[in-house]
């Protein structure tokens, strides 16, 4: 502090060299909680200083650096360079279980591909949300297949190579059929009630879903 006083006294005779003034502006802009006007800078700096000129030098010095000297209204401030904004975020990766809706949709696509949205809805018995499909697309577990050559030419969905990778499958044909699921105890072994469309093998409803049926033939 006493140093500051000395400096001030000195400066009655001579202003500090421009390089020194630049340092001062730099420190003031760095530490201030808000942009600082040239007037205020001059008031804080030793007598005889020319903050306006020092700022010109300072701004030039920071050109192309990670930090920029910018003018905000009548005042000056330092800010991180705009292109480095991505550094100002901390990413945390969280692993979550896929929702039941997404798993079911994914399973239907895997077992019935290529399959249209309407077909998925028919099999699931509920409408398929846009979000679910988008999520699976974004995860790159499904992609669009060929359009179905039926009225409206609906898009179809198929599973991707990433999907096979993730589940350790060589091809979608490797997915166990219902019989095997039942044998493995994954399906309740219950005789299908007469009138109901019995949850037989996937082939049962394959009629209109060309392409996919042969997938599950052994």
């Amino acid at each position: 502090m006493s140093e500051g006083v000395d400096k001030k006294e000195e400066s009655l005779f001579e202003a500090p060299p421009m390089g020194e003034q630049e340092r001062m502006c730099e420190a003031i802009l760095f530490a201030s909680a808000e942009p600082v006007s040239v007037r205020e800078m001059n008031a804080r700096m030793p007598h005889g200083c020319d903050a306006a000129e020092a700022l010109v030098h300072l701004r030039k010095r920071y050109e192309g650096r990670g930090v920029q000297v910018i003018k905000v209204g009548d005042a000056w401030a330092m800010r991180t360079a705009g292109d480095l904004g991505f550094l100002m975020q901390k990413e945390t990766v969280e692993t979550r279980k896929l929702s039941r809706a997404a798993i079911e949709t994914l399973a239907i696509i895997a077992y019935h591909q290529p399959v249209t949205r309407a077909e998925i809805e028919e099999i699931r018995g509920v409408s398929v949300s846009r979000g679910t499909v988008d999520q699976l697309l974004e995860m790159e577990w499904i992609r669009f297949g060929r359009r179905r050559m039926t009225p409206g030419r609906p898009v179809t969905f198929v599973v991707t190579g990433e999907f096979l990778d993730h589940f350790g499958l060589e091809s979608a044909r490797d997915l166990p059929g219902l019989k095997e699921l039942r044998a493995a105890g994954l399906l309740e072994n219950r005789p299908p009630p007469g009138a109901m469309p019995m949850g037989g093998d996937a082939e049962d409803e394959a009629e209109d879903v060309e392409g996919q049926s042969e997938l599950f033939e052994d």
């Binding site: 990766v93 589940f167 699921l181 994954l186």
Partner: protein, 265 residues
């Protein structure tokens, strides 16, 4: 040596006596006997490593004596120290008794000297430390720190078993379709979630959760109940995903929600 010191303490100058008296008055200002000893040692005007402990012991004992005359209450530790220094003094003055157990007077004196030197060293270190440039006083941190945005990236996983069980679930549900006949007055959470996902983009301001009920479900109490529950559950889910914020000012007050801006999911 002991002789000359004895002389010295007798021929105590007026100034020293005044100093000693001021010490007495200030007794509360000392942080214990060691602090007092350190202060007394300064009157010797020598390097602490060359200090005469015997002289110091005498000074201390004289101090305690004076305090007693002035009927000053001395804390117990000052008196314990006095007793110990009296013992030390006798050890230093008398020729060592070979039959006596324990450390010699010299060893004890050396340790006391070490303690004094160490305390002084720590005091010097403390003042050097405090004389350093300090953050927020002499040098400064960034005045406008920028917020670090915390981005939560969520990756989803599923196992083959999940997939197969999911499929099995759908297929077995087909078998029991008759039992889901009453579903027409049930609004599922998934449906609500889908509906909300489409709507929350517009929920910049706080809005009552009830405004998110699907059209046509508000009047039939049964449907309304189901839709409300599903919508509420869906908003919890969305809040968990960081997409919206929920608030309720008090119990049974309307529940309000709005979208959260930085929620990248």
């Amino acid at each position: 040596m002991a002789e000359s010191e004895f002389e010295e303490s007798r021929g105590i100058s007026v100034a020293e006596r005044l100093a000693a008296e001021s010490l007495i008055v200030d007794v509360d200002g000392f942080e214990g006997p060691l602090d007092l000893l350190l202060t007394l040692s300064r009157t010797q005007k020598v390097d602490l490593r060359k200090i005469s402990i015997l002289h110091l012991a005498r000074q201390y004992l004289a101090f305690v004596e004076k305090a007693k005359q002035l009927r000053l209450e001395l804390a117990a530790d000052y008196l314990v120290m006095a007793a110990w220094l009296a013992f030390l003094k006798s050890r230093l003055l008398l020729p060592p008794d070979p039959t006596e157990e324990g450390p010699s007077g010299e060893e004890l004196a050396a340790h006391l000297a070490f303690q004094l030197e160490r305390l002084q060293a720590m005091r010097d270190a403390a003042s050097k430390l405090m004389a350093r440039d300090q953050l927020g006083r002499d040098f400064f941190a960034r005045g406008i720190p920028e917020d670090i945005m915390r981005v939560r990236r969520v990756t989803y996983t599923a196992t083959l078993l999940d997939l197969m069980q999911g499929y099995a679930r759908i297929r077995t549900r087909d078998e029991f379709r008759p039992f889901t006949m009453d579903r027409d007055s049930v609004f599922t959470m998934e449906e609500a979630l889908e509906r909300m996902r489409g709507l929350i983009g517009f929920a910049g301001a706080w809005t009552d959760i009830l405004s998110y009920l699907p059209v046509g479900w508000e009047n039939d109490p049964k449907k309304r109940r189901s839709a409300t529950a599903a919508t509420f559950a869906a908003s919890l889910e969305l809040a968990k995903e960081g997409r919206i914020e929920i608030r309720q000012s008090e119990t049974f007050a309307p529940i309000e929600l709005r979208k959260k801006d930085e929620g990248h999911v």
